[in-house]
Symmetry: D2
Subunit: 214 residues, 4 copies
């Protein structure tokens, strides 16, 4: 049995829900074969989110961690390639903090690559009928903060742990009157299940173009 | 029993499916209460599409006609407000025809408003959990062609008939690797069911802002 | 000497400038050969804008009227094809009015086509180095209101007058920190000069695809 | 006199021009006060672009290097924050090479931050009337390749050199009939001049939010 920890976030920026929490809850309730999945909800707060992640990892001792966040405006499920050591918030987090150009981890390296077979995860989501692609940036808000913190934890304390970050679009209920892209929670959860399945079953990635011209 | 005719289109521009046909088929298979729904598939061909629509109206003698088309790139279900008397094709239709600035109906008026409670239809789709909005243009390709032809038929021959046009986004299977907005067929059909229900139950529209600045 | 009346708008939606007024002022200051150009500034107010337009037409007795408005978010100069008989405002105008689904002109036809060689105007702007295209909708706010009112005036009272509507993007100074498309006032004015030149020199349009799929 | 090396690229993806080369040529022809600016044109080819950059740095021995590339579709001048050690091409480069998930520099760190006062550069461009923002990703094509190679050169061989990467939108002539954002070469050059001026005059950056939520 592979132990999988999934994290979602609290709602932020005035939203009433966060589809990342809805989707990881759905996966935990109906996990992929061979996986025991625990879902943990993180505050959308710099620092506190990372503390909660570390505590969850300590307690659950997972083999794989996939953190999930809402990417409002994106049209598909995106598997993040790289976490960058910078916090730079355009808007305050849920505790009113708004760091600008401060490192996630003082003295940490500039960036970490995800410890997931990113391309294989994308291919698996597509094969499950869920639009998906590689993302070249997780931004500089709490999502990237948690992603970088996770990768730093793996690099410095838990070398056998693997993991990464997935962004999902708004869910339909968030955009009923906004003409903005959405993905139903059902589809997002289906995509995450495929990502987890891929992460569990392979370490080496596949060769598939997934870059961006800029 | 209200007789409802729904039309969808053949795939075009190299697509393997057209979600409009998938969605209207789904609604015909599970119609709203009190409605007998027939689904008819139109060719994506100027002229021939309108001939097929007229034949279907003759045969089915419906109370309401809602024509449905694919709007690749749009993020939500859109109820069209106005049909314009012009064909102007950027790409050839499925028969290789590419009219430029010719009228749909020679001598017809410049435009017709939809004979649907457009705002109520939008509100009903949203209430059913489907992102929806009013569209101010149905374009100038085969969709607008059919929409205009339908409204001209109502205006000149079938004054008791009511109807209009709805655009739906790409379905998920069309955009697995494209990072373009999509709506599942399930959701599109749910939205269409709500639109039909609204069209059946009321003639007067509700007052709800749904315009565009430009 | 051809008499040309150009109109621009007051700033709205909290903007400090309106590039339509900047651009038409620039054209009036340096008109195309053979043209006497007058620029008039309209309030961004339903009703009052149309009153001001009518007064200007009465006074100036122009051969050609081109009304110009700001289309924030569009990337190029767009020549509008069709004006629709509806006011439907998402936000209040500068006098706090927010009509919803009321006609511009009670009893007027559903729509009017522009009395400009739309495609030739687009081609002329491009030939002058200005990105341009045909637009299928002028929206349902004050721009479309003025456009429809102009066309109704032509249709009912001034059959020898010709005219239409052009939308231009935000100017650069409006979007310095917004990552939204813009066009400099210099380029917008250059494009308008080409549109006016084309409108003056020909009545028949050219055949050039300029439609939209939806 | 500060020695500044600017690089632009050859056209690629079927374009006839590359605005990056047009803009850096314009800056070299009219440099900021106190700067001697040399412009060098790089091939849009993995490997060869970096070889040409290294040769130019050897020869010119600059104090500051700003590499510039075309970001088709972006609406403003963007100063890149971080270069990532990966080549992942969706399309072949000008020599037909299409690397997928290979490092720019074998054994190099995952990423480098730009050695420019990124926020000050953005603020300077805006103050010069040019829309500008921070970008969180330079993509994974030849632009990022050159950016990473430059930063690696600085980190390993030329510690006193400073530099980074700026993306500019399509120029107007590239998008006359495409309805895609553009920036004139004049404005792009004006923005680059401001970026260079800022890079020359300060090492410490200003504190100004410039991040992305995702």
């Amino acid at each position: 049995m592979t132990r999988v920890l999934l994290t979602g976030f609290d709602p932020f920026e005035g939203e009433r829900v966060n589809p990342s929490w809805q989707a990881v809850s759905a996966v935990a309730a109906a996990p992929p074969d061979g996986c025991a999945v625990e879902a943990v909800r993180l505050p959308c707060v710099f620092g506190a989110a990372l503390d909660a992640l570390r505590a969850a990892v300590e307690r659950a001792d997972p083999d794989i961690v996939v953190c999930v966040g809402q990417a409002g405006g994106r049209a598909d499920l995106t598997v993040e390639r790289v976490a960058v050591n910078v916090d730079d918030a355009r808007t305050p987090d849920n505790a009113g903090r708004q760091p600008v150009d401060t490192p996630v981890i003082e003295g940490g390296p500039v960036a970490y690559f995800a410890a997931l077979p990113v391309k294989a995860c994308v291919a698996a989501a597509r094969a499950a009928g869920v639009p998906a692609s590689v993302s070249q940036t997780a931004g500089t808000f709490v999502c990237n903060h948690v992603f970088y913190g996770l990768m730093h934890l793996i690099a410095t304390e838990r070398p056998s742990l693997r993991g990464g970050f997935v962004h999902i679009p708004y869910t339909t209920e968030q955009v009923l009157d906004r003409a903005v892209p959405s993905l139903s929670v059902t589809l997002a959860a289906e995509g995450l299940r495929a990502v987890v399945g891929s992460a569990v079953s392979r370490v080496e990635d596949i060769v598939m173009a997934g870059g961006a011209t800029h």
